[in-house]
């Protein structure tokens, strides 16, 4: 044991630590820029957001040191307790938390507030790692899958109860962990993406009646054909052909070509599907079950859409470039436009540090939190945005490859959880500032202003770095 603790700092992956520090520094300087005001530019005013963020960074660095000093087996041993405790906090906040714009997810202590949902991320990661390790072995995959899904759905449910829809979506990123652990096959992920796309198209074109039936059949047919040929030599070709076919139909052909053409394509798709099914001698029953699932999802999508909250509907409408309500036009569309103007006006090299006009002068909504990427885009230009994206990509891929070098499955599973959470945050946060995904209010790790998220992301990352430093040992 003694030998192990001596080598803690020697075995630490310093590359990741440095990458973390670089991102935190860039992040802080952008918060400073986002709220920069020439008239009140005192650097270390602890009432200003940059000043407070400085305190948070200090706390985060202190915590990271603590995390590195604590024995790695502490995390494996106490995973249940950590998860349980955090879950309790998340339940408590529903009843005790302050009402912030209708959501109950914040505890307030004087001038500081604290969001337990942020901490549920690393706790869920630990819990998932612990559970999947407990039920290790090929034979127990059903238990692993069921318990794993339950562990993920618990915080999702709590976040929904806190009215934090955005945060709840983050946990779905953990599906990558299930994929890595072989609990969910790759084709299912792909199918999930196809279903999502089709659901969005269904909402976009607000399809009803015969048109909906058509959509279901084309979508279902494409999915069936794709799945039936799965693992056959030509599977990819058919998959791609049908996916492209379906997308093209959904996007362009629908309105222009008229229904006759579309129905004929539908018949063609169904025919090809049947032909392939017989030819490949696959399990027609299984395929039909999946096709029904796909069709059902797409069928329900427009109805589900109407069940969303008005502002969520508006965000989705703006994202899908649909005619939004007047209110949404004013707010959501305005926000997206301002965000894109800020980024777009940065040009190749940006307007220079502290020279941004769009972000500094409050044109961009929530410029220091969820839309902090606009400041990067405006002041540092394309060079800045691509550097930040590439730094994140390096961090995420680094974590993936570090996970793969673990001896203990616990560390590997947790590593994948860390990577997928960072990845989800990055794609959603950056994507929404460019209008590539709907606006979902989640922070950009290390960049967005806020103590809870910064400290939670730091804990998330440094537990993994600590676990990684013990990669030569099997932790239980």
């Amino acid at each position: 044991m003694r030998e192990r603790s001596d080598s803690i700092f020697a075995n630490i992956d310093w590359f990741t630590v440095v990458l973390y520090l670089v991102l935190v520094c860039i992040g802080w300087s952008n918060i400073y820029a986002a709220v920069y005001d020439e008239e009140k530019s005192s650097l270390f005013n602890f009432n200003s957001q940059p000043g407070r963020q400085m305190i948070f960074i200090g706390v985060a660095l202190f915590l990271s040191l603590v995390i590195l000093i604590v024995d790695a087996s502490f995390y494996t041993a106490t995973a249940y307790f950590i998860f349980g405790g955090i879950i309790l906090l998340n339940i408590a906040v529903i009843f005790l938390g302050d009402d912030v714009k209708g959501s109950h997810s914040w505890f307030k202590f004087g001038s500081f507030s604290f969001q337990p949902a942020e901490f549920a991320k690393f706790a869920t990661g630990l819990m998932l790692a612990k559970l999947l390790t407990e039920f290790e072995g090929q034979a127990k995959w059903v238990e692993r899958l069921v318990f794993g899904i339950l562990v993920v759905l618990l915080p999702v449910a709590l976040c929904l109860l806190q009215s934090e829809t955005g945060v709840s979506l983050v946990f779905f990123a953990l599906i990558l962990v299930f994929y890595r652990e072989g609990l969910i096959p790759g084709w299912l992920l792909l199918l999930g993406m196809i279903v999502t796309l089709m659901a969005l198209l269904a909402i976009k074109f607000n399809i009803e009646g015969p048109r909906l039936a058509f959509f279901i059949c084309v979508g279902g047919g494409a999915a069936v054909a794709f799945l039936l040929t799965w693992r056959a030599r030509l599977s990819w070709v058919f998959g791609v052909i049908f996916t492209v076919c379906m997308l093209a139909l959904g996007l362009a052909g629908w309105k222009i070509s008229g229904e006759i053409l579309l129905y004929s394509v539908l018949v063609l798709a169904a025919g090809v599907s049947c032909f392939l099914a017989i030819r490949m001698r696959m399990f027609i029953f299984n395929s039909l079950v999946i096709a029904c699932f796909v069709a059902g999802s797409v069928y329900l999508a427009p109805y589900g859409f109407l069940k969303l909250k008005p502002h969520q509907q508006d965000r989705l409408r703006v994202f899908l470039r649909l005619d939004a309500s007047a209110e949404a036009k004013k707010k959501e569309l305005y926000n997206l436009n301002q965000s894109m103007i800020a980024i777009g006006s940065g040009g190749l090299t940006g307007k220079g540090y502290l020279q941004g006009t769009q972000t500094k002068y409050d044109f961009v909504p929530e410029q220091e939190t969820d839309f902090i990427f606009c400041t990067v885009g405006e002041e540092w230009g394309f060079v800045g945005t691509s550097v930040v994206l590439i730094l994140f990509a390096i961090l995420i891929i680094r974590i993936v490859f570090m996970s793969e070098r673990q001896r203990s499955p616990f560390s590997r599973i947790y590593g994948y959880a860390v990577a997928s959470i960072f990845f989800f945050h990055l794609i959603i946060n950056v994507g929404m500032t460019m209008g590539m995904v709907p606006v979902i209010g989640i922070p950009l790790p290390f960049f967005s202003y806020g103590g809870s998220s910064l400290i939670a992301f730091t804990i998330l990352l440094f537990i993994f770095i600590r676990l990684d430093s013990e990669r030569l040992y099997i932790l239980r």
Partner: protein
């Protein structure tokens, strides 16, 4: 587990795929697509215009004619108006609440439509007392601000037509000239218009940055891209404010125009149009209202600049020109005698003349203003068979002489609205009488300054000035110098010589003009101690009584002032025109008046009620009898 080993690559590949898709998208919106940069520029930058003060205008003695007074425009940024105490603000503004609310609503909509957070004008040119009252309360009215602008002020109240006025630029100008924007001021008439570019200076631009609420956050890059406003230059006019004022007083209740020129320089000393108006009426908030009132006066037509724009037949004053042309053409000498039988004998006594000794020589013909004499002279010029085979050629030659005196051609002056005047063309008479089928007798009235001749008072004054100079003139102009420049514009130093080349010819005419005042038709114009040379005219016009015309210059040797005056429908030149001109000359040369009774009579004379149709006709034949 081959598949398991592949998964990390699939995951990593997926991460890279999405990240590079994003980078591609960013490249498009940040580098390729320019529309976002434009939007940003329009939103966050506020190009604030700095208005330079407009140049002042002084008279020839340094007396201030035009200066600027500060006016206050009330601006509003509708977006910023919050928790406004409407009642309180209406009270301070002295504005009706309904009007206030309606206007604010309109501006709010306008601002929203334009998507422009710049402040809009809520109320133009607040009255000083309103501003004083409002100023103390401004802090309460979030979103409102006061912008200072300048309005023109005319301390002497004179020369309204000449100085012109300034007003808001109209759409036609803003579309053509990118310098002007809606709401800018521009010189609309007079010197204000003619010297617009000098007077206005150059607007400056400060590039300011503003936040989403329209609040100004400071200068962009500390103002390195700003351009400073360049103030307008002041102008020194050649006008003599005292003379101008005196002339305007003398012309009270009379209709007509006076132009006085310094012959040695071509500088205009006075340019009077009557009726006139107070230039301060066409300033500020009341401008439109007052303008309409002035426009509606169709009898006096106070907005019509008679001195520059009205075409009058010059009447007998034109005989001076014919006397000069005749001598130059060799058909007239000082000793040439022509008879007069109360009219022109060859045409049965038409044109008519008044009783006087007959025959007369050249000098006497000027002194007595004999119509018959100048009918003979005109005919001898036009039908000079030794020189011209056809009357048309004679007439063409005569017309060229006339044009060399600046009549029938546009004087290249700095005055706005300089008109050509009308000396009928050959084509005109060909059309009227048939091609080549006319001769001197058809157009004999030209000899006595009647018929189709149309001459502006400015041109009459210029002819007089040319005679005083004995053969040349400088283009009459109103501005002596611009700003601190001491040099006069080279344009004003070009001597324009007439086609009458011998100064002796001028001497002969001048002697006649001297006789006019000493012993002829204009004895009333005599000034003790000053030798005045003049010529009366009585311009017939079909719309009413004759116009009273008089031209003169003084002193006879080394003339200092040449003046032309026309008083509409007031009869003989000697009745009104000559005395007024004489008083002005005396005032200008000596600074005092030795004939108070005459002055009193002129000042009190009211001819407006008398005139029936005072309209001066443009290019309308006014046949002499």
């Amino acid at each position: 587990m081959n598949n398991e080993g592949l998964r990390k690559y699939i995951v990593a590949g997926f991460v890279l795929l999405l990240v590079f898709t994003y980078i591609g998208r960013l490249f498009y919106i940040q580098v390729v697509d320019d529309s976002y940069k434009l939007s940003s520029r329009n939103q966050a930058f506020y190009f604030k215009t700095d208005y330079p003060p407009r140049g002042f205008i002084y008279d020839r003695k340094g007396k201030l004619l035009v200066y600027n007074q500060i006016a206050y425009d009330l601006l509003v940024t509708p977006k910023m108006v919050k928790s406004l105490d409407t009642n309180d603000m209406c009270k301070q503004l002295g504005m009706d609440r309904d009007v206030f609310v309606k206007r604010l609503k309109k501006l709010r909509e306008e601002a929203f439509m334009k998507r422009d957070p710049r402040p809009l004008i809520f109320e133009k040119q607040l009255l000083p007392e309103v501003y004083a009252r409002l100023q103390e309360h401004m802090y309460k009215y979030r979103g409102f601000e006061v912008q200072t602008r300048t309005v023109r002020k005319y301390p002497t109240n004179i020369a309204a037509h000449l100085l012109g006025y300034v007003g808001e630029v109209d759409k036609k100008v803003t579309e053509k000239n990118p310098y002007y924007r809606d709401g800018d001021y521009i010189g609309i008439s007079g010197v204000e218009k003619g010297y617009e570019e000098v007077l206005r200076g150059r607007k400056g631009v400060s590039i300011l940055m503003r936040d989403v609420h329209g609040n100004i956050k400071g200068k962009f890059k500390d103002g390195i891209y700003d351009t400073a406003a360049i103030p307008g230059k002041y102008l020194t006019s050649s006008l003599d404010a005292d003379l101008q004022l005196y002339g305007e007083q003398l012309m009270q209740n009379k209709i007509g125009g006076i132009v006085a020129i310094e012959p040695g320089t071509g500088e205009i000393l006075a340019l009077i149009t009557s009726p006139t108006y107070d230039p301060n009426l066409l300033v500020g908030r009341e401008r439109t209202k007052n303008y309409v009132v002035l426009l509606q006066d169709t009898i006096g037509r106070p907005l019509f600049n008679r001195a520059l724009m009205a075409y009058y037949p010059p009447g007998s004053t034109f005989k001076l020109l014919n006397a000069l042309i005749g001598q130059q053409e060799g058909v007239l000498t000082p000793s040439t005698l022509y008879p007069c039988a109360r009219g022109y004998p060859p045409m049965g006594g038409k044109p008519k003349c008044h009783p006087h000794a007959s025959p007369t020589n050249l000098e006497g013909s000027i002194a007595t203003s004999c119509n018959s004499y100048y009918s003979y002279v005109f005919r001898s010029i036009v039908e000079n068979r030794r020189k011209y085979k056809r009357s048309v050629d004679g007439y063409t030659a005569w017309r060229k002489y006339v044009q060399s005196f600046g009549v029938g051609v546009k004087l290249d002056s700095d005055l706005p609205y300089v008109l050509k005047g009308n000396v009928p063309s050959v084509e005109y008479y060909d059309k009227l009488h048939g091609k080549g089928a006319w001769m001197a007798s058809n157009i004999i009235s030209l000899g006595i300054g009647q018929a189709e001749l149309g001459i502006t008072p400015l041109q009459m004054a210029n002819i007089t000035s040319t005679i005083a100079n004995k053969g040349w003139y400088y283009t009459p102009h109103i501005i002596k110098s611009i700003g601190d420049e001491k040099e006069i514009d080279a344009k004003w130093k070009v001597k324009h010589y007439t086609m009458v080349t011998d100064t002796q010819y001028f001497n002969n005419v001048i002697e006649g003009m001297y006789k006019v005042v000493e012993a002829g038709t204009a004895r009333i114009a005599q000034i003790p101690g000053i030798e005045v040379c003049g010529k009366t005219g009585t311009a017939q016009n079909p719309h009413g009584d004759d116009h009273s015309v008089f031209v003169c210059f003084a002193p006879k040797d080394n003339p200092k002032i040449a003046i032309a005056i026309l008083v509409e429908n007031s009869g003989y030149g000697s009745r009104w025109a000559a005395p007024i001109a004489s008083l002005m000359v005396e005032k200008y040369l000596t600074g005092k008046i030795t004939r108070p009774e005459l002055e009193k009579r002129m000042l009190e004379g009211n001819l407006i009620s008398k005139s029936t149709d005072p309209k001066a006709k443009k290019e309308e034949p006014e046949q002499g009898e």
